[in-house]
């Protein structure tokens, strides 16, 4: 009996110990995850969230490149048939096609929104976190969000736009589309605010060049803004912002060693040396972050880019459309000239039968990259694009001025300035005279210049994910009708022969067909999202 009492006593002690050891058993916060309140505490937390944003941006590049190239005319199917692309090449755009999935972009956008919304919590909590630092992070997040929405607008036209974070399931998740005009206006407002209020710095490091190319700088944000203005057909604003980037003194066209001087009919002719091209290729596309680069999505051997199966594998999806490239790089020279380098832009892009900008590691050696070698960066903006955006804006300003007959001199001033910008790139590349702009005793025709600039854009940014957007931007100008020829001309090269005519008919029928259908899963899950009218099957488009 006594023994029993002792045992009961012992049990009670054990129980007391047991209870006291879980004093926080009424804690309601989840144990296996970090809640928002606990996460956003110090500036280091915000810094690691920023790293997370750039990491999620890396996951977007496959879509960005594919959207920019696969609908256009510069690629043909590689050694393996990618069914989703094959459907596109037959003019079939099903909403279930995973190439149109936009989820990775919205994941990155939501990461940006979280930082923009919650970084102030850390600022309140951490006294060492200055307001300038807070703005630096928020500014970058706003710029990256703007970049991705700009891609979405150019690819889908009207898309859901949210500027606030989705963080828990008490929020209402359905969201209707905003129109392209609304979204672009919002992006312009946002970017002007972060640029004018000095939220984003001009550079991040005095020693590490990768930081100044890999983080979005003020000039990268300005280049993006200029690109948006150009899409909005705000040519004077585009021209002004391009000037700000050009005058920053931070960037220069990557030079190519010139040699082999010849004298022909009294002209002294310089042209690129083969060794110079090899060096140019290495600095721009292998090493990356060169003096010309404004913003690049960074990859290294630990974080490789997603283009191995697209361009490098023995079963690659895509190869250069070499037959069509001839139309851009006519390899004929003025009689009497003998060059070893003829418009190097073709050769750095399409070489050894591959898309060499992505597949190569050296200009001279034909070895294709292996999976672990996929460390080349994705160039979002480089100075050459600022040159051509400014040229395009000037050409349009000239055309507008030319419509008023009295201002012809002003018209020609714009044209000549635009032409000079193109010439800077052509001279560097050793472009052939046959692809040059034809002038009438030095007088330039505005329409010819517009066509010429689009051709220059094609030559300069071959396989850099720009071509489709350049074509659409030029084809949609004014009213989606006047310039539709730019788009229709690409169709025979982007669609299989017996579907070309029907694809052209679709493009002519409705500008909505120039954009992708919204992903089927989102149509099903988001009751407020209406499908792009061309694909909705409702007959209204």
């Amino acid at each position: 009996m006594k023994r029993n009492k002792i045992i009961v006593g012992l049990l009670m002690v054990v129980q007391l110990v047991g209870f006291s050891s879980c004093s926080d058993w009424l804690e309601l916060y989840p144990e296996n995850t970090i809640s928002r309140k606990d996460y956003w505490k110090s500036k280091e937390d915000v810094a690691s969230a920023m790293t997370g944003i750039y990491q999620s941006l890396r996951s977007c590049t496959q879509q960005l490149l594919i959207w920019g190239e696969f609908r256009a005319d510069m690629l043909i199917p590689g050694t393996t048939i990618l069914v989703n692309w094959d459907d596109m090449r037959r003019g079939e755009y099903a909403a279930t096609n995973s190439l149109f999935a936009w989820g990775t972009l919205y994941t990155c956008i939501n990461n940006c929104n979280m930082l923009i919304d919650y970084a102030p919590m850390a600022y309140e909590n951490d006294n060492s976190f200055t307001e300038a630092e807070l703005h630096e992070y928020q500014g970058q997040a706003i710029a990256i969000r703007s970049l991705l929405y700009f891609y979405l607008v150019r690819s889908f036209r009207d898309v859901p736009m949210t500027l606030n974070a989705y963080a828990d399931n008490s929020q209402y998740l359905m969201l209707a589309k905003s129109t392209d005009t609304e979204i672009l206006d919002q992006l312009v407002t946002d970017l002007n605010q972060v640029i004018n209020d000095g939220w984003i710095p001009a550079n991040y490091s005095y020693t590490d060049v990768a930081q100044n190319k890999g983080y979005i700088t003020r000039y990268a944000a300005q280049t993006l803004l200029a690109d948006i203005y150009l899409w909005q057909e705000q040519y004077e604003l585009c021209n002004q912002v391009c000037d700000q980037v050009l005058k920053s003194g931070q960037y220069a066209l990557l030079p190519i060693a010139q040699g082999f001087v010849e004298t022909l009919e009294g002209d002294t002719v310089y042209y690129a040396e083969p060794a110079g091209v090899s060096e140019y290729y290495y600095n721009m596309y292998v090493e990356g972050n060169c003096v010309e680069s404004i913003f690049e999505i960074q990859y290294d051997r630990e974080n490789t880019n997603p283009f191995f199966s697209v361009f490098c594998s023995a079963n690659c999806w895509a190869k250069p459309n070499t037959e069509h490239l001839v139309d851009f790089f006519t390899p004929t020279l003025r009689e009497g000239l003998e060059r070893t380098v003829v418009d190097m832009r073709e050769n750095v892009a399409s070489r050894f039968g591959s898309v060499w900008k992505w597949a190569g590691m050296s200009y001279d050696d034909g070895t294709v990259r292996s999976t672990e070698d996929m460390d080349n960066n994705f160039i979002i903006y480089r100075l050459a694009q600022v040159y051509l955006m400014k040229a395009e804006a000037l050409a349009q300003m000239g055309i507008a001025a030319g419509e008023d007959a009295k201002t012809t001199p002003e018209e020609q001033t714009c044209y000549q300035e635009a032409y000079a910008l193109c010439q800077a790139l052509r001279t560097r590349a050793g472009a052939t005279e046959t692809t040059d702009l034809e002038t009438n005793n030095g007088l330039i025709n505005g329409k010819s210049l517009e066509e010429f600039i689009l051709l220059e854009e094609a030559r300069e940014f071959l396989y850099e994910g720009k071509r489709w957007y350049d074509v659409v931007r030029n084809a949609k100008r004014k009213d989606y009708t006047t310039n539709i020829g730019y788009l229709l001309n690409t169709v025979p090269y982007s669609v299989i022969a017996d579907k070309s005519y029907s694809m052209q008919t679709k493009y002519k029928k409705s500008p909505y067909s120039w954009y992708f259908p919204c992903p089927q899963a989102d149509i099903e899950n988001n009751s407020l999202l209406e499908q792009n009218p061309f694909y909705a099957g409702s007959g209204e488009y």
């Binding site: 099903a94 909403a95 029928k509 899963a521």
Partner: protein
């Protein structure tokens, strides 16, 4: 509780959430009768019949109420509506094969040709099309012909109709037991009545769009135009086209009545009388033979109409899972 797909503009693709409440209403009758019994003989019978109505209530608005993409081959549309029964599929009405060029010309409700006018003002026939303008494929002779319900010359979402429902009207089972002295013979049958099954196995074996093995039925496929429709065989299949899915779109061609009665079990059992066991330290002994899945009466053409209907939201597809095997059991029961 379900992992719900949510709109991806949120940055996520799914979250845990209660999708809906399901209400099951119905009735079930069970019975057991002993119509005859004397010293040696006992005859008994048992049965149960059930009818179940499944309805969804409080559906989360994040739950996709409609799924399936009718423009993709073999993708049936299913819908969930609050207060409505579950399990219906929707698709096109299959109407044979376009036998010749003339049949592919679009016609209106009165059978008159739909025409367009050329630049010169002359009428010109138009062909039947699929999902114009997003796709706009012109049907060719030999293609599967779907009923143009609204007679607009275009096979699209507006030609989709109700095709069937995988929930049975009645399910149940019954059996008869006959006992004579030490011998017992028992039988059991189960059945489903009034449910439809999508024969995906047939769809995959007859689609003729890739390099997969196909069934012998594809030997009956269309190979040349039949100018005289009466000469065409009645069981003609559409032509083969590589990589295209126009000929196996979700249609009633693959929806079949899944009603069946299955002879589920037959058991013959001999129980050794106790008086014979007293010397063997055994209190009970019996020997039996059981045969399972002996026979199935059905009009269904696939391997097994008894497809799983466990998930009320997405069931009724026969993907040719291994059919129920015939089983034979020989058993001895000893109790010490």
């Amino acid at each position: 509780m379900n992992k719900l797909s949510i709109p991806t503009h949120t940055g996520y693709s799914s979250m845990g959430y209660n999708a809906a409440t399901m209400e099951n209403k119905g009735w079930e009758v069970q019975g057991y009768v002993v119509p005859f019994k004397n010293k040696d003989w006992t005859i008994s019978a048992s049965f149960n019949f059930a009818r179940n109505d499944n309805r969804m209530e409080d559906i989360s608005e994040y739950y996709a109420q409609e799924s399936g993409d009718w423009a993709t081959g073999g993708s049936y549309i299913t819908m969930i509506k609050e207060g409505q029964p579950l399990g219906s599929f929707y698709g096109f009405m299959y109407d044979g094969v376009y036998l010749n060029e003339d049949e592919t010309i679009a016609r209106d409700a009165n059978g008159k040709k739909i025409v367009t006018y050329t630049a010169a003002g002359n009428p010109q026939d138009v062909k039947m099309r699929f999902n114009y303008p997003a796709d706009g494929y012109e049907f060719q002779p030999g293609d599967a012909r779907y009923k143009d319900i609204n007679h607009d010359g275009n096979i699209d979402a507006q030609d989709i109709v109700y095709l069937g429902n995988f929930m049975p009207v009645l399910t149940g089972g019954f059996g008869v037991n006959v006992k004579y002295k030490a011998w017992t013979l028992s039988t059991f049958f189960n059945f489903r009545y009034g449910n439809d099954v999508v024969n995906m196995a047939k769809l995959n074996m007859e689609k003729m769009s890739g390099f997969d093995n196909q069934s012998k039925a594809v030997l009956r496929r269309w190979r040349h135009p039949y100018e005289d429709a009466s000469q065409a065989p009645s069981n003609l299949l559409p032509r083969a086209i590589y990589g295209q899915d126009y000929n196996y779109l979700a249609s009633d061609r693959f929806v079949e009545d899944g009603s069946f009665i299955r002879f589920k079990q037959l058991t013959l059992k001999y129980t050794v009388p106790r008086e014979k066991l007293t010397n063997f330290f055994i209190s009970d002994a019996s020997v039996y033979v059981t045969m399972q899945n002996l026979f199935c009466w059905t009009n269904y053409t696939g391997m097994d109409p008894e497809v799983s209907v466990s998930n009320p939201l997405n069931s009724g597809y026969d993907n040719a899972a291994s059919p129920r095997s015939k089983e034979y059991w020989l058993g001895v029961n000893l109790t010490f």
